[in-house]
Symmetry: C3
């Protein structure tokens, strides 16, 4: 049974998600529909890109991932089918694919032809999904374009200083636990760091270590319980540097937003010291 | 594989939805359960009616739609099976079907017999669903009644003035984006309008146009970005007139509720001018 | 088709749930994944235990229930497979099973061996689930231990006074409707009560009856509508004593938390009178 995933900012309250699922099941009956998220921040393409990047690799190859964020047919100029690592992505040409791939990846991107009978984005996605599942030659579905010809989100890339003594990162996502995820990957961090010491600055907070895991504190003089509410940096499950509060929550302990005022798009500076 | 959809006000936090799904899968193993919404406003039948109306037609014929809003067996006098456009609806006799159909539709409504072994609503719905899937004669499941014999929600119908120079509509739903959906359909609007000009009044706001699509603004003197936060009216995907804020959200731009104070049940007046 | 349920505090916004589902579907393609809840309060094991207890019995025997609350491999010492009433539970050894069973139940608990190739909890759960579905001898998966050897949550058990004239219960869960669920079951209440009258005290509120159903009010002198907003006690669908507000909601009527200040872990005293 084929799998189609959904990533939207439609929320879970209205009829929108049900309507999309009904349309898919009408058109492609033998499919398993899996929700990735319907709680993408409104119109936030970076957010959608990050969440999809975090989820997609765990699915079997051949999975078709539909993204409905800033993807109204009236608002968007073009729509893309991207094939990457055996997965298929259906998105508007609006930067959603920015985090999924970079120019070095082996990928195929098609700027989709929009048939007249596709009155809206879901119709188009269903038509393309059905075509993929029928092994239609993808070249018949759109015009091949290169990664750099697509709309891309600049904000998703951190800035390395020319002297390579610092990196200017930014918060690109606030997760369910209130963690502030930056756009800095462990790979880039280690490449620029070259085993040097470092200081991370976010707002007026400075810290010179990155936890290996959440409970990675010195428990000789202080119990783990006493560290609850402390700020920490950690590479998250996707290897992005993230600012967290140990045992953060909304009501008692707090989170980076409530405790430290850290918001989406805030700057995080990493300085390296010889 | 048969499809059962769920529309409830149970929320997504508790065991309630899981318990319902477990019961269905125990009774009817070969079924695909699709969530329409579990975030219907508490006890809000109009809300459930609207959301189900918006979703159901997109599913394949033969789908069984279960509604668990104001449907406690202790509180409700009777329960209905409604067959409409090839779809089956299981609801309490409490007005849920008001928006799904009107007296002119071809439909079959059964006031259900409640077998003794059905201790609660889910047991009843499962028994009926199983009977439908076994092609049981529906007449054995309840007594046929007419649409006008059912409990109906008056609030879901707009009022046309006797002189047909105005319509008094009402907000029946606030969606995920904060849009205020009224009970006025495009069909009724155009029928009464007869190509006349019009003024829409909601709270202290007056506007004399309806956008064709969200971004349908005059961009000669002002960029689209500058329209963010502006109020607009539009016929939504279900052809109901809705008040919206261009690019509305909770945090930055705002929505009709936060910006204009528009609430569920507020009045919207449309006056036609010769 | 086998069923796997998920109970987590991951929320529905991030990639976490999608990633788990993708991993399961990659490893065990012919499975139906059902969400019980992803909105467990952060790190709240009692909450997870209660919600799972409420849902699991409704599923068919053979269902595998995965719990991902306080279950990080770095933080937890051990993980359990519990077999009870034909159901399989995968949890950290952190008290999650406290409410599912007690020492009198017929159950099998295995302290799981963690294979080297299981880098994280989901890998471990998938490996065990796959083994169960292949009918692997459970004794090869871990070491059998007894209920009392497991970590247990003391807070989930009410205290009966030595003279059996009172019970000290506690609020263990606040549900979607704002109901405050206590840890007192109907079974224990009736056993201690021995047909005596009683007074329930919660905060500064005292009440001497328990409703049979929500709308179980005296409607001779007052209409049901006039009871909206009144406090009541009722044994809920799981037979736990719960404090409720008739027709509670967040916006208009209010709920026990907003109206009476009742919070998680608050004490509820039941006194019996001869």
């Amino acid at each position: 049974m084929s799998i189609i995933t959904l990533t939207t900012d439609y929320g879970i309250k209205d009829h929108f998600v049900g309507a999309v699922k009904g349309k898919i099941l009408t058109k492609i009956p033998k499919v398993q529909i899996i929700d990735i998220s319907h709680s993408i921040d409104f119109y936030n393409i970076a957010n959608a890109s990050y969440v999809l990047y975090g989820a997609y690799k765990n699915f079997p190859e051949g999975t078709i991932h539909m993204v409905l964020v800033e993807a109204e047919m009236n608002d968007q100029k073009s729509f893309l089918l991207t094939k990457l690592n055996g997965h298929y992505f259906l998105t508007a040409n609006n930067g959603t694919i920015s985090l999924l791939a970079d120019a070095n990846d082996v990928l195929e991107i098609y700027d989709l032809h929009i048939p007249d009978f596709c009155a809206n984005t879901v119709d188009l996605y269903n038509f393309i999904a059905e075509s993929i599942l029928k092994n239609t030659n993808l070249d018949t579905l759109g015009s091949k374009i290169s990664y750099n010809d697509c709309e891309l989100l600049v904000e998703l890339r951190p800035n390395v200083a020319d002297d390579e003594n610092s990196i200017k990162a930014a918060v690109i996502y606030i997760d369910h636990y209130g963690n502030a995820v930056t756009n800095l990957t462990k790979q880039l961090f280690e490449k620029v760091r070259k085993n040097r010491k470092f200081i991370i600055t976010a707002k007026r907070y400075r810290i010179n270590r990155i936890n290996e895991f959440y409970a990675d504190f010195n428990t000789e003089s202080k119990s783990l319980r006493e560290y609850e509410g402390d700020m920490l940096f950690i590479f998250n499950d996707l290897d992005f540097l993230q600012m967290a509060i140990y045992k953060s929550d909304d009501e008692n302990i707090g989170n980076p937003k409530s405790l430290l005022g850290v918001l989406y798009r805030d700057t995080v500076i990493i300085e390296f010291i010889d």
